[in-house]
C-alpha cells in the first residue's frame, strides 16, 4: 500500500524537524515547509492526505489562511492546526461551536506539547473519517 502523505508547516525549524521524524515514525511520508508562503506554493501543485499547520508564522493567522486555502482547493483534506497560542496568551480556540466551524476551516486544534500517541490517534482518526 502506498504511504499517505502529510504536509507539515512550521517556521521553527527544530519543531518542524521533530514533528517530521515523529510523523515518519508513524509510517507516513512527509512534505515540509517553513513558511506560509512556501506552503502555499506546495499546495498549488501537491495534494497531501492530511496537513498540519502552525498557527503563527509570517502572519499571526497564517495557519487559518493556509487552512482556508487548502480547503478551497482540496475540500476533503483534513487539517490540524498545532498551536502553542492558548498557553501563552490565554486565547482559546474551539471548533466545536457551529459559528467557529464556519470561519475556521480546520478539523482539529492541537496543543504543540501533545504526546506522540495522542497525535498518532488524531491523525489516524482524521484519515479514517475521510
Amino acid at each position: 500500500m502506498k504511504k499517505k502523505i502529510i504536509l507539515i508547516v512550521d517556521d521553527d525549524m527544530d519543531y518542524l524537524f521533530q514533528l517530521k521524524v515523529k510523523v515518519e515514525g508513524f509510517g507516513f511520508e512527509t512534505i515540509t515547509a517553513e513558511s506560509q508562503k512556501e506552503a502555499e506554493s506546495i499546495i498549488e501543485t501537491t495534494k497531501p492526505d492530511l496537513a498540519i499547520f502552525d498557527l503563527m508564522m509570517e502572519n499571526e493567522d497564517s495557519g487559518f489562511i493556509l487552512s482556508y486555502k487548502i480547503k478551497r482547493k482540496y475540500p476533503d483534506v483534513p487539517v490540524i492546526i498545532a498551536t502553542a497560542v492558548s498557553a501563552e496568551t490565554g486565547m482559546t480556540f474551539d471548533i466545536n461551536s457551529e459559528d467557529d466551524q464556519q470561519w475556521i476551516r480546520a478539523d482539529q486544534f492541537l496543543d504543540k506539547g501533545i504526546r506522540s500517541d495522542q497525535l498518532k490517534n488524531e491523525i489516524d482518526r482524521l484519515l479514517k473519517k475521510e
Binding site: D12, M13, V21, E34, A84, E88, T89
Partner: protein, 376 residues
Amino acid sequence: MAILKILVVDDEPGIRSGVARIMRKFKVDYPFMDEHVDFTILEAESGEAGIDIIESEMPDIILLDNKLPGIQGIEVLEYVKKRNYDITVVMITSYASLDLAVKATKDGAHDFIPKPFTPQELRSSIENITKRIFLKRMTRQMGDQGKQIRFQFLSVLSHELKAPINAIEGYLEMIKQRQMGQSIEDYDTVVDRSLERVKGMRSLILDMLDLTKIETENKTRTMELCNMESIARNAIDTMNPLAIQMDITIDLQAENNISILADCSEMEIIFNNLISNAVKYNTQQGNVQCLLKMEEDNAVIIVKDTGIGMEKEDAEKIFDDFVRIKNAATKKISGSGLGLSIVKKIIDQYNGHISVDSEPGVGSEFTVKIPSVNKI
C-alpha cells in the same frame, strides 16, 4: 468627551429647571483639551427615578438632593459607589446638616453645593469637576496604553523563551526514545541544534538584562567621558573569535579623540550589537568596517558589512522588539530579536538617530548619530 451628562435629582421642579437654565449655554474650556465641553441635563424627581436614569444613561455628574420623597439622596450615592460607577456626585444640601455632609463625604461625594445656590456657584463647581474628570480620564487612558504595550511585550517574551525550551525538550525526547538510531553519531545534528537553541536563549536573557539596565538607568545613569575608539576596539576584540572562524576581517577607522559624555556601558551595548550583527550576518571571508567621526555636533558611528543584507521592507522593521528576519540565509543564525531594538532605545535616550541602508546579497550599513552637545 465633548459632552458631559449631568443628572439632577431633586423633587423641587424649580431646582431642576433652574439647573437646566443655568447650564444651557455653559461651556468649559481647558488649555489641554482640544475642544470645549458642553453639557446635557437629565432630570429625576426621586431617587428611584434617578437610579433608573443612572442605569440607562450613565451620567458623568450627578447633582443630588438628599431630602427626597422615597429613598434618600445618600442611598443613591451608596448605590453609585457600590457599583464603582465612574460618576462624580455633588450633594445639593443646606449647611445645616453637618452629619450628613460628613457621611456623604465618607461615601465618596465629591462636592457640596449649598441650597439655595447662585448660578455662579453652580458653574464654578461644575467647571472644577469637569477639569478633574478630564484629567482623570486622560491619566487612565495613558496608563492603559502603557500596560497594553507591556502586556504585548511579555506575551511575545514568553513565546520567545518557550520556543527554545520546547525545541530542546523535543530533541531530548528523540534521544531518549532512540528515534534517530542506536549510535551516538546519529544524534550529532540533534545535539548541535539543541546547543544552538541554548545559545539563542542565553543571548535573549543577556539582552533582557540590557533592557532592564536601560529602564533603571533612566534614573541612575552615570555620565562620564567615553572614548568611542576604545569602546569600539573592545567590541571588535570580543567578536574576533567568531570573525576568525568565518574568516572575516574587521577594520576600525577613527578620527582622533572622539569622546562624548555618556553612560559608557550604554555605548558598549551599541557597539557590541552593531559589530556582532555585522559579523553574524556576514558571509565567509567577508569584511566589516567600523568608522568613527565627528560631523558638526554629532558623533557618527558607521558599521558596514559585506553580508547577506536585507529587503527594504525588512529593514524598516528591524528596530522593533523581537523582530527577526526569517529567510533561508538567516535560518541558522541565532538571535533574540531584541539587540537592535535595545540599540535604538538607547540612542533615543540621547536624542540620537540610527538608520540602515541595505541591499540583499551585498551588505548592510548602519549609521548612528549621537549629539555631542556634551563634547569636551
